[in-house]
């Protein structure tokens, strides 16, 4: 088991390097003249050249990359062009906010959607199952800003049950934050509910067709035992795998929701950094998000290994 984790962590390294190259290429190389894109088309050429020089853009690419990578690993993430503050402090602060929002949404929705999906799978092709399948399908694909907008109109504007903003006023107790997070969390929850429930259902349906379920039933086991002892454990494997890869869409959702509700999370900062060509902040945000994604997949892999002894023993 430990060997498995070690191997996976080791495999993350080349991927991480590749990702960093990609980010570097996209952020620093692609724009061409970075100085120009920062200062805009109306600045004078000499000002651009000066900025280029200041940013060290006249050095060869691989040197720049190695320097940049080195800085990154040691925590020197530079200063934000927009805010003038240390990128590191901005990103860590924003990350905390995002994790709170995402965590809140996931903790509620992951167990719920698994149960819903398994329930639908057990009653395959019944009216209830069709209803669950179609509605979860519909909820998955609705973009978060759409559902967010509709929710705001209904719950905040019309009914006044929930606040429109996502952050409580300064000085409020920590617990208050969750009240304000409800509305932004719902689009995230809807997105994940649909996807996870569908995968749980598919997993359940596949397992129910397996020969070992027939064995379990014909052994005379009560249905309760068949489901919890045999179906669940095996149906969860494809579900958990998919949850890991779904984090990518969750992150996209986070970006949208944070923008819509003007919430100071890492997604919001990333969008603004991109719009304003704030390279250091943008690069840091993207890399942190990528690392987060890889860690989420690693956790999913570990959970799958716990569920599936074949993978666990193979190492």
């Amino acid at each position: 088991m430990a060997r498995l984790i070690g191997r996976r962590l080791l495999l993350m390294v080349p991927t991480l390097i590749l990702v960093s190259i990609l980010v570097f290429a996209l952020a620093e190389v692609l724009p061409g003249d970075l100085g120009r894109s920062i200062l805009g088309p109306y600045a004078s050429q000499s000002a651009v050249v000066q900025l280029d020089h200041k940013l060290g853009l006249n050095k060869p690419i691989y040197v720049r990359y190695v320097e940049w990578a080195g800085h990154f690993v040691t925590g020197q993430w530079g200063t934000s062009y927009q805010y003038g503050q240390s990128v590191f402090s901005i990103v860590t602060h924003a990350l905390g906010n995002s994790l709170l929002l995402a965590g809140f949404a996931l903790v509620i929705i992951v167990p719920t959607s698994i149960l819903v999906g398994v329930f639908a799978g057990l009653r395959r092709d019944s009216l209830l199952d069709r209803a669950i399948t179609v509605s979860s399908l519909s909820m998955t694909v609705i973009p978060e800003f759409v559902s967010g907008v509709v929710l705001i109109v209904i719950f905040a504007v019309t009914l006044h049950w929930l606040p429109v903003t996502a952050t409580p006023p300064q000085g409020s107790p920590f617990v208050d934050r969750f009240y304000y997070l409800i509305l932004p969390a719902i689009p995230l929850m809807l997105l994940e509910l649909g996807y996870i429930a569908r995968m749980a259902r598919v997993g359940t349906v596949q397992v129910l067709d397996m020969a070992y379920i027939r064995t379990a039933v014909l052994k005379g086991l009560p249905m309760r035992r068949v489901v919890f002892g045999h179906v669940l454990r095996n149906a969860l494997v494809p579900t958990v795998t998919v949850i890991g890869s779904q984090v990518g869409w969750l992150i996209g959702g986070l970006v949208v929701v944070e923008t819509l509700f003007v919430y100071p999370g890492i997604g919001n900062y990333a969008v603004n950094a991109a719009l304003n060509h704030d390279q250091p902040l943008l690069e840091a945000c993207v890399l942190v998000i990528a690392v987060l994604y890889m860690i989420a997949n690693l956790v999913a892999d570990i959970v799958v290994a716990l569920l599936n002894p074949r993978i666990r023993k193979a190492g």
Partner: protein, 724 residues
């Protein structure tokens, strides 16, 4: 004794307790509904299994035998319905059980053992927990107690080291061990009826024999009745007292096993017995009888007797009205013949004066003309010519020298083929036998070039071949072709059959009209032209395999490697494929490397045979030499493990100790020493055995010299009869 139910309308009286049949199926009709069509699978099947009896239900695919078992356990798939009839287990009507009663009843009254033990076990649960479950939920035992009983159960099925096995997961056990676990679970709470559905299909021959030994031994101790469902007649002969033959959802013959197999009275049973190669039979002795036509498709409406379309004895009355199950020999009730003669032209006007089955005899056959079955006309397919006539003395066509190949599995190195050498002459068939893991398929792939060997040479017609097919000349490719095992994936489902053959002719052929060649190929393999326009999915298994053979012959090959070409086909179709291969060999003078796990088939079709064990070729010789003493102890054990149909010679079974060693850690010295029943001692562990040569061309690897071996084996083995 369980509840007594009044049977057949008779009154149950106090004091007269009639034991209820273990299984009582009455006029069962089951239909499946698929895509809006109704497909009747079982059409009125009636059978009875008495307590303590073993009953074999035989039939080929689609005959409905598994459906019967599922109906008995009330576990039909969602789209299957019981339209008529009843199933009573120990006198209780299965359909009247409440859900809770059904649950308890499953496991306690009826238990089942399945075909694919790996799939039947829950992959993420430890063995011990799975077996203990039965005790926990049937006898309400607490976990610790249940685990103890589970351990006992595993001991009962002769699993070595039950404690360690309890902690393992199914994928860590071998096929034989997995099946033992399934049997242990089935027998856990002492069921009264044990249903075995193809319990040994897919297991190696020696493992199969062990499982059968186990079942026989357990029978003596458990007093359960047994329903054995299989297509393998030998199994039934070994294990069962009575047998029922199922064809197209109808019971066509029933009675004591010994009588039915020695004196069948239904044309289908006779056909089945004839098309299986008798042990010791070779293609130069006699051709295999086949059953012409194909199995009826599921749901196909059949007029009159379900077998009439394929029956060589069919008369007009057979298609007018279906015969009843008549007793055999006559028992005072109407005989089939009498009914046939009394039949008016319009069968609807005829009303029988009896219920089915007719009479009280122990045997029944659903045929009007049972009396004539013994003289059923033989077919006369082409007989194989002798080796000389096939040009087989004209020198070697293939030489394999010291071929080796290893695979990496994670960090383990598996030796699949280890220093194998053999020669093949023109027009000759070399049969390659071995169990799973022996390396025969890997060897075949090295010969054809699908896999490159690590070392060693393959020489064809004097020229050394390049390792992989991609680097061989077109000429070499044309000359060496392969026929694969699985008819469903051997032809590209997206291409039409004609396109498949046309492409093969284009790539492998040597000029001339492509279309004419394609037509000739399909004629040679007896596939009618109208099938050429269709896609493979519309063809039957036998037809697909014929096209695969035609494809291999597209370039007039010199050598065709056949990897289990008939194993995936029904018995009645197998014979026609084997006959086809023999015929093609005679006409085209092609050599075969024929791989199979079925020893009777290999004995039949091969001129020479090689036996592989754990990546080594441990014996080579003519078919006659290898199958008779003196031969390698492994060969000896292999031959003894086949369940045969002959009742006269009771050959002694030689059980092998232990299990097949892993390919990553082959035993030292002689690889077979860990399981050999003729183990000599340290010499077998320390030294590689030399090549013994009892006759010219016959070699085997063993420390025991031929004379000693002959003397030892001649006493334990009965002389196997040659010829049918």
């Amino acid at each position: 004794m369980s509840v007594v139910e009044p049977q057949g309308g008779s009154q149950a009286q106090v004091g007269t307790v009639e034991p209820a049949a273990a299984l009582d199926v009455r006029d069962l009709e089951v239909t499946f509904h698929r895509r809006g069509r109704d497909l009747p699978v079982l059409k009125g099947v009636t059978l009875r299994i008495e307590p303590g009896e073993a009953y074999g239900l035989v039939g080929e695919s689609g005959c409905g035998k598994t459906t019967l078992a599922m109906a008995a356990l009330r576990y039909l798939a969602g789209n299957g319905t019981v339209d008529a009839g009843k199933v009573l287990v120990e006198g209780r009507d299965v359909s009247t059980l409440s859900k809770e009663a059904l649950r308890k009843w499953r496991g306690e009254a009826v238990a089942m053992v399945y075909q694919d033990p790996a799939a039947a076990l829950s992959p993420a649960m430890r063995i011990g927990d799975q077996v203990a479950e039965v005790f926990r939920y049937h006898e309400g035992l607490p976990k610790a107690e249940a685990l103890k009983r589970a351990r006992e159960g595993l001991r009962r099925v002769a699993l070595p080291d039950p404690d360690a096995t309890m902690r393992r997961y199914p994928f860590e056990l071998s096929g034989g061990q997995q099946q033992r676990v399934v049997i242990a679970m089935a027998l856990a709470v002492n069921p009264h009826l044990l249903v075995l559905d193809e319990p040994t299909t897919g297991l190696d021959a020696t493992v199969e024999a062990e499982i059968l030994d186990l079942i026989e031994e357990l029978r003596g101790r458990i007093h359960a009745s047994i329903l054995l469902i299989t297509h393998n007649l030998g199994l039934v002969a070994r294990l069962c007292e009575r047998v029922g033959v199922l064809y197209a959802g109808r019971l066509v013959e029933e009675g004591p096993a010994r009588e039915i197999f020695t004196d069948p009275r239904h044309p289908y049973t006779m056909g089945l017995l004839r098309c299986v190669p008798k042990f010791g039979m070779n293609k130069t002795d006699a051709a295999l009888q086949t059953i012409p036509g194909t199995l009826p498709a599921l749901g196909e409406p059949l007029e009159g007797c379900v077998y009439s379309a394929r029956c060589p004895m069919a008369k007009p009355v057979c298609t007018r009205r279906e015969p009843d199950l008549y007793g055999w020999p006559g028992d005072g009730g109407p005989t089939g013949r009498a009914e046939a003669e009394a039949m008016p032209a319009d069968p609807a006007a005829y009303s029988p004066h009896h219920a089915s089955p007719v009479g009280e005899s122990a045997r029944h056959a659903r045929c009007y003309f049972s009396a004539e079955v013994a003289e059923m006309p033989h077919m006369t397919p082409v007989l194989a010519t002798s080796l000389e006539a096939r040009g087989a003395t004209a020198g070697d066509v293939l030489q394999i020298g010291d071929l080796s190949r290893t695979f990496k599995d994670g960090r383990k190195k598996l030796t699949a083929v280890s220093d194998v050498s053999l020669n093949l002459r023109r027009g000759e068939t070399f049969g390659l036998v071995g169990e799973s893991g022996s390396g025969k398929t890997t060897l075949a792939k090295c010969v054809t070039g699908l896999i490159a060997p690590d070392s060693g040479t393959v020489t064809f017609e004097g020229n050394q071949l390049r390792a992989t097919a991609g680097r061989r000349s077109q000429d070499a490719l044309r000359a060496i072709q392969m026929v694969f095992q699985n008819p469903d994936s051997t032809l590209n489902p997206a291409w039409s059959t004609r396109a498949i053959l046309t492409r093969a002719v284009r790539k492998l052929g040597s000029g001339g009209s492509v279309r004419a060649k394609v037509d000739k190929l399909s004629a040679d393999v007896r596939v009618e032209p109208r099938f050429l326009a269709q896609k493979p999915t519309d063809l039957s298994g036998g037809q697909k395999q014929r096209i695969a053979i035609a494809r291999a012959f597209a370039g007039d090959p010199t050598l065709v490697v056949c990897d289990e070409p008939a194993s995936a086909l029904d018995v009645s179709v197998q014979a026609s494929i084997l006959n086809l291969l023999v015929e093609l060999q005679t006409n085209e003078q092609v050599s075969y490397v024929f791989i199979s796990h079925d020893l009777a088939v290999v004995r039949y079709i091969s001129d020479r045979i090689g036996v592989m064990y754990l990546a080594e070729l441990i014996e080579v010789g003519s078919a006659e030499e290898v199958f008779n003493p003196p031969h390698h102890p492994y060969t000896e054990a292999l031959l003894s493990s086949i369940p045969k149909l002959q009742f006269e010679d009771e050959q002694q079974r030689i059980p092998l100790r232990g299990t097949m060693p892993s390919l990553s850690e082959p035993p030292s010295g002689c690889r077979f020493h860990t399981r050999c029943h003729r183990f000599l001692g340290d010499i077998c562990v320390e030294q590689e055995p030399p090549l013994q040569e009892p006759a010219h061309g016959h070699t085997y690897k063993c420390h025991i010299p031929p004379q000693e071996l002959l003397a030892a084996q001649a006493t334990t083995e009965a002389v196997t009869p040659t010829g049918g």
